[in-house]
C-alpha cells in the first residue's frame, strides 16, 4: 500500500456522497477523493475545463459513476469517456441503486470496468465501497498518467 490513486466520485445525492465518504474514511481512503455532482461537472473535471480549468493534469485512478444524474446522465458520461482516446483508459465503476438488466447491459456494452449495486444495508454498503476503494485505488495498477500519492 505505497501509492494511493485518486478517486473521482460522480454522485448527485448529497446523502450518498456523505455515506460514501464516510465509508472511504473508515478505511483511510478519503484523502484523494474528488466529488462531482452531475455528468457535466464530471466531464469538465476530466477535460480540465470550466471550474476545473486550473487543476493539475492527470486522470483519476478510478471513477465511481452513478447512472441517474442531472443534465448529462451516467451512461452518456460513460459513452463519452470510452470513446475518447485520452480518457478511455480510466477504470470506470458504475455504482448505482438499480440492477435493472437494461442498465447492466448498456453499461457493459459501453465498456464499463465494473458494475456495483449499492446495497440498502449500511454494513454491506460500507463493505462494497471499501472493497471498491481498496481494489481500484490501491491494489489495481492504474493506467499510466493517473494521479497518485
Amino acid at each position: 500500500m505505497t501509492t494511493l490513486g485518486r478517486i473521482l466520485i460522480v454522485e448527485d445525492d448529497p446523502n450518498d456522497v456523505e455515506l460514501t465518504l464516510t465509508a472511504l474514511a473508515d478505511y483511510n481512503l478519503a484523502n484523494e477523493v474528488v466529488i462531482t455532482r452531475d455528468g457535466q461537472q464530471a466531464l469538465d473535471y476530466l477535460y480540465c475545463r470550466g471550474e476545473f480549468s486550473t487543476r493539475a493534469t492527470g486522470n483519476p485512478a478510478v471513477m465511481l459513476l452513478d447512472l441517474k444524474l442531472p443534465k448529462v446522465d451516467g451512461l452518456e458520461v460513460l459513452q463519452q469517456i470510452k470513446s475518447d482516446e485520452r480518457l478511455k483508459m480510466i477504470p470506470v465503476v458504475v455504482l448505482t441503486s438499480s440492477h435493472e438488466e437494461k442498465d447492466v447491459m448498456r453499461s457493459y456494452s459501453l465498456g464499463v470496468n465494473a458494475y456495483v449495486v449499492k446495497p440498502v444495508d449500511f454494513h454491506e454498503f460500507v463493505n462494497a465501497v471499501k472493497e471498491l476503494g481498496v481494489f481500484w485505488a490501491v491494489i489495481n495498477a492504474p493506467p499510466p498518467g493517473s494521479v497518485t500519492k
Binding site: N15, E100, K118, D121, H123, F125
Partner: protein, 408 residues
Amino acid sequence: MTRLAEEPTRGVRRPLTYWNPEFQRIHSPILRYGFSVVSVTIAFAVAFALQHFRFRDVEVPVFTVAIAFTTWYAGAGPSVLAVVLCSVCFDYFFTEPLYSLEISNRDLPYFFIFLAWAGIVASFSAVRRRIEDSLRKTRDNLQVEVKQRRRQEDEIRKLNQELSQRAAELEATNEELESFAYSVSHDLRAPLRHMAGYSELLQRQASSALDEKSQRFIRTILDSAKRMGNLIDDLLAFSRIGRAETRKTAVDLEHLVQEVVAEIGQDTKDRDIAWKIGALPVCYGDRSMLKLVVTNLVSNAVKFTRMRRPAEIEIGCVDRNEKEVEVFVRDNGAGFDMQYINKLFGVFQRLHLPEQFEGTGIGLATVQRIVHRHGGKVRGEGTVDQGATFYFSLPKAQGPAERKANAP
C-alpha cells in the same frame, strides 16, 4: 345465405313482366305457347306466299326457322307444340294429297326427314338452353361466394385492426410498467439506503449517550429499512419474471432438483432433514426460471419444517399424461388451513406471522407466475401441523432422439 342466393333472380324479374332479358325468354307460359302458335302461323303464311309465287320446296326451311325461334325464345314445351303444328300444316298444305292429313307413300320419307330435322333443331336449342342455364347458375354461385369471401376479408381486416390496436395498447402498458419498475429500482431504494445509513451512523456516534430503549428504536428503524429493501427487491424480481423472455430448452428436472437441494443443504447442515428425491423426467422450459421455482418450493419446505426432528421433505413426480408431468414437493412441516388456499399464491400474501416464519410472501406468487408462463398449473394441499404438498405441472420434452438433435 339463402337470402343472398335468391337475390339475383329477384333483381332481374322486377323490371319486366313479359320479357326476361337475363334468360332471353318470354315469361308467362300462355305467352310462350302463344308465341309458338304465332311464329308457326307466320311461317305458314310465308311458306304459302312463297309457294304462291312458285318457289318450290322452301316450306321445310321456313318451318324449321319458326321451330328454332320458338325453341330459342319460348323453351321446350312451346317448341314441341311448334313441331306438332308445323308437321300438321306441312302435311295438310304442302304434301300430296293436299288438304288432307294423309301422307302418300312417296312423301313419307320426305315427311320423316322434316320431323327429324325439326327434332334436331329443337334439341340443339334445348341443349344450348341447358348449358346456358347451368353456366348462369355457376356464375350466380360464384357471385355469392365472392361476396361471402369479401365479407370475410372485411371481417378479418377488422379483426386484424383490432388486434394491432390491442397490441399497441399492450405495448404501451408494458412500457409504462417497465418505466415504473425502472424508477422504483432507481429512486425508491436511495432514501431507504439513507435511512439505514444514517441510523447506523447515529448508532455509532451516539451509542454511549443512548439508553437501551433508544438503541432499540434505532435497531427497529434499521430492520424496517432492510425489510423494505428486501420487499422492493423481491417485487422487482417478481415483475422482472413477468417481463423477461423465456429461453426454453430441455431441462433435466432430477439434476436441477439435486443441484438445488445441494445448495440449500449447505445452509442446513445443522438441521436433521430426511431428503427423499424420486425419479424426475426431462421437461421443456427456461432452466433458470425453473430453478427459481424449485428453489422457492424447497426452501419453503425447509423453512416450514424448522421445528421437526427429523424433517421429511420428499420431491417426486406424478405422470399425469403424455404431454405434461406434475412435480410435487411434500413436507411434514407447519402446513396450512385449506380454507385459505385462494390466498396461497397471491403476491405478499402470508399465512403465518413474521415471528413464526420470516419471509416477504412473494415466493409462491413467483412460482405461480413462472409455471403459468410455461403453460402449467400450480396447486397446494395442506393440513395444519401435518405438512403441505405443492404441485406444479410442466410440458414434457419431446422424444429422446429429437432432444439430442436439438441439444447444442
